[in-house]
Symmetry: C2
Subunit: 353 residues, 2 copies
DNA sequence: CTGAAAGCGCTTACAG
DNA sequence: CTGAAAGCGCTTACAG
């Protein structure tokens, strides 16, 4: 009783309970409390329960800064991205935050630009300064094998999200862009299109090649060809969609359908079609990629390949933190994501069959 | 020489230079190095230069975890938001990241939901656990005075972004939503509209009242009235824009122009107009708010009030970290932001004058 | 203007 | 299975 009061008095006035308080209250050493907190096996059930009881009663939460200093590793998870599409970024963030919810980890943002002078250095200096628990790399940075090698050298854990197998499976969340693009091709082929164009993104993204090849394969499966004169290179943004769309639609034997590497460029093609006096889908069918919100809001609503970005972000974060947390360890079935085709009103059979 | 080698040998093999290394190499105490790093005044020029030279040569970067533990304050800046608009979120993030660039601070994301059961607690427990350098609060969380009071009690610094004066000026970045809405009203009045509707957002946001009142004031300045039967409450999202648009346009004496509280709802009104067989802008003029990317991508491009969100994010972060960094201290002229009207093709004179 | 000691709240390395 | 000591890399509080 008197003892309880005396110990209570020693608890700091700002209300923060420390490991020493818990140790004293439970009548064990700090090291034992540490063992319980870190879920180490070698603690007797009796001791563990005694400590857990005190932790629950006091509301003790270990100080992340102190743990980080001692562990030489912080509780930050870095999300590294160079995707110009805000919707992609937000969805990925949401997925990661879903997984980090109710854990000790915090999400810190690391946008980057592979063309910038300080490109890998900024990321690497974040890593060596802050020693994050790990990094989640999204395309196209995820495809920079020089970067991942540097991370390994710095002993920094990471997960890559990519459309191709890039790293050991335990570090790779795969999206089947090739298969998704094939769905787009089959859809257009089944509608009866034969003159079909494609606007792809910057070749820096490995997904660009995957989508192109998947699309080509899908057409070939229906005896169709993707003619080189119907292929254009865009920049994954709206303006390049407008420009490439104008270009493709200005030729005499223009395509009757266009598949774009993302929704942003598809929306650009809408503008080019309008300028050319072409109705969608009667005169021109359009298929996008990503299923971002604008796909549903624009008129006519855009047929597009759906990529479950939020789920992918969640899986990536779980994979990263799951290496230590046992409850997240069974992820084998989530390492790879198939894509769907969202069929809307921007596609129909071509008029001039 | 032999001495140099001996000291060099003592530097840890993982390449991390510590304050002790710098102190030894510069022939001063750790405390003096600490003074230089933290820009404290009471160091002689000679000593300061000696230390800075060693810091430059060794590439010493103070360990943020150790500093955080000793300072009882981390180098994290939390961005707290409950805005459902991804574009707003991304732009705000970009602005904050602009300001944090080349500083020691990292951005951590704290999305929240004021209707959730763990609403303020999750934020407060982040604060008491991670002791962030400060928080940036955006609408509508920024308007929760119970939250800011709790933050002050926890001795947590913060900056609020809001359309009304909410806190002491040193903690408040203001956006002049009222004035922006007035611009929208004047534009429609000058075009000759007299039956004008308004779809506002959830009253939880103070900006909703500001925009409504500013719009009303702008109309009244032109002798026009905002009739209660032309006012609807939306949810700041696409679906509610469609629903409120349908509702407003289904009446016999429907308005010839609609001002919506954000672009998302404006795009919803496009759908309702299309369903009702109304042409934009000939039969119906629409004005949005925010100037998000969709405003330029949709057809016809949307006239909307532009809010410089990225700049606001930058100013908020500079204000927060500027309390200590002298180079950011002159911010008086950036504490308040006027809005512009982006006039595009969704507005014109009404047909039935 | 400068420094030696103690401390921030944890974990590691070691011992038993 | 458990603990005492030392250490992580800084800053605070104090002394001079």
């Amino acid at each position: 009783m008197a003892d309880d009061k005396a110990t209570a008095d020693r608890i700091r006035s700002d209300g923060a309970i420390t490991i020493s308080d818990v140790a004293r209250l439970a009548g064990v050493s700090k090291k034992t409390v540490s063992r319980v907190v870190n879920n180490e096996a070698t603690v007797s059930d009796e001791t563990r329960q005694k400590v857990q009881k005190v932790i629950a009663e006091t509301g003790f939460v270990p100080n992340p800064q102190a743990r980080a200093l001692a562990f030489r590793r912080s509780f930050l998870v870095g999300l590294v991205y160079d995707n110009p599409n805000p919707q992609y970024v937000v969805n990925m963030q949401r997925g990661v935050l879903d997984a980090l919810d109710n854990t000790d980890y915090q999400l810190v943002l690391q946008p980057c630009d592979r063309n910038s002078a300080d490109y890998p250095d900024r990321i690497l200096s974040f890593v060596s300064m802050h020693r994050p628990h790990g990094l989640i790399l999204t395309p196209s940075v995820s495809e920079d094998e020089a970067l991942t090698e540097s991370l390994r050298r710095l002993d920094c854990d990471y997960v890559v999200v990519a459309s191709v197998p890039l790293d050991i499976p335990q570090r790779n969340i795969r999206t089947h862009d090739r298969q998704g693009a094939r769905l787009a091709a089959e859809h257009l082929a089944q509608l009866g299109h034969t003159s079909i164009g494609h606007i792809h993104g910057p070749p820096l993204f490995r997904s660009v090649g995957e989508r192109l090849e998947g699309f080509r394969e899908g057409l070939e499966a229906h005896g169709l060809e993707l003619a080189p004169r119907y292929i254009r290179e865009g920049a994954y943004n709206f303006a390049s969609g407008v420009a490439c769309g104008r270009d493709l639609l200005s030729t005499e034997d223009r395509p009757t359908a266009i598949f774009t590497g993302n929704d942003e460029m598809a929306v650009g093609v809408y503008v080019a079609a309008r300028e050319a006096g072409l109705r969608i889908p009667e005169d021109l069918s359009i298929v996008g990629f990503d299923d971002t919100p604008i796909a549903e809001r624009i008129w006519p609503p855009l047929t597009t390949v759906r990529s479950p970005i939020r789920e992918i972000g969640r899986a990536a974060a779980r994979l990263l933190i799951g290496r230590k947390e046992p409850e997240f360890s069974d992820l084998s079935e989530h390492l790879s994501y198939a894509l769907d085709l969202m069929t809307r009103q921007s596609t129909s059979a071509p008029l001039k069959l």
